[in-house]
Symmetry: C2
């Protein structure tokens, strides 16, 4: 399992080497992402822009598709990604905001994420989608608990559009490739380790939408859970996280 500590989350390892005080009887309380109250505009802008970037990455993946079948699958995933994006646009409009205005502040971070996770072939590109969409949808859904009014339910409904069937379809297709080529398996396992680090940087930005530092040590169990879920997603492909 990949430790999230390697990815600049939580206390730094340097801090960990300092002499620690004796353990105190009162435990540090744990916080959940749902305890935070994200700024609605910042949250919706990030989620909307992330889905838009994912569409763009899927367009690139489509151009790398090794067959018409895999290209068609890429189109199906892109279609539901754009439906999720549009669901967020609808909510941004409902909040009387301009979509470009609220997405713009996240462009640098997400564009950089996208460049780093583009992948060198179709399988790498699709693994990036699978890992990022899986982990970040999880973060987005948890954070949505703190949104005002009925935004939580609307956001979750929007994010759930075809998410499960997309995941199943990607797993099936990647597993086919991995089963047929052991070298692909080891390459994708390595790639997955890099992806989780880059993806957690976006998760960190999502948490910052609540004016909350992702370095808060009370978030450690949350990140441990996110990584555990990532490990299960890699397991589903027969890959070691």
């Amino acid at each position: 399992m990949v430790s999230w500590r390697g990815f600049r989350f939580g206390r730094s390892s340097t801090a960990g080497q300092r002499p620690r005080p004796a353990p105190r009887p009162i435990p540090v309380s744990r916080v959940e992402l749902g305890d935070f109250t994200p700024d609605l505009d910042v949250y919706l802008g990030l989620v909307a822009y992330f889905q838009l970037a994912l569409f763009e990455s899927l367009g690139h993946a489509s151009s790398l598709a090794p067959s018409t079948r895999t290209k068609a699958l890429t189109g199906v995933i892109a279609a539901s990604t754009l439906e999720r994006h549009k669901a967020m646009l609808t909510l941004i409009e409902r909040a009387d905001k301009d979509a470009s205005d609220v997405m713009q502040p996240h462009a640098d971070l997400i564009d950089d994420f996208q460049r780093r996770t583009a992948g060198r072939d179709w399988h790498e590109a699709m693994l990036a989608t699978y890992v990022a969409a899986g982990l970040l949808d999880d973060v987005f859904v948890r954070l949505a608990d703190g949104l005002p009014g009925d935004y939580r339910d609307r956001v979750v409904a929007g994010l759930e559009v075809d998410a499960e069937s997309d995941e199943t379809a990607i797993v099936a297709e990647l597993s086919l490739g991995i089963g047929a080529d052991p070298r692909l398996a080891s390459r994708l396992a390595l790639w997955g380790r890099r992806l989780v680090g880059d993806t957690l940087l976006v998760a960190r930005a999502a948490i910052a939408a609540s004016h909350q530092s992702a370095d808060d040590e009370r978030l450690e169990p949350v990140f441990t859970e996110l990584i555990a879920a990532h490990t299960r997603r890699m397991d589903a492909l027969g890959l070691t996280a």
Copy 2:
């Protein structure tokens, strides 16, 4: 106005230079695309693959977008393009065919079209979408008249998804850029002339789905109309076709 004769449609100019027989009193009858009966699988495979390729091109366009606003617009257009693609997939499934199987035979032609019309920046890429979607949707809708059963109505309904609002949005955004930069205007006018030639090659393939040669001279008026519609689309941008 661009003459379609320059683009390898209809009689070649060499043939035109031969001594012609005296005109006969019986006029050559005109045929309409709707008079043809396209092979259902070939037709649906081509239309579905074309929309899939358009999505891929829009993903590339999105990566070239000069602003978050134009990137968001690209996402909106890609979403409806993929909805049109999915409408065709539904019809392919209804006809008990495999989507990859019926799309595959068109891959080489469309992939080549896509490479040639990718564009060097966002404006060129979006003009390509505007010109190709406009001209080819026109061809696809006309040819649909000859489809069996209720496929015509279903295809047309599928192709019409947001087509008009997409066109309006692209025209508005391209016009903004053209108005602000006269050099962009002349570059796009040139680019439009190249695009129409490449796009007509796809139109020709669509006609071939009816085992009908696009070289049939009775199709000349049809191509003249397609070019006239293209000219009107360029006019809408203030560009000379």
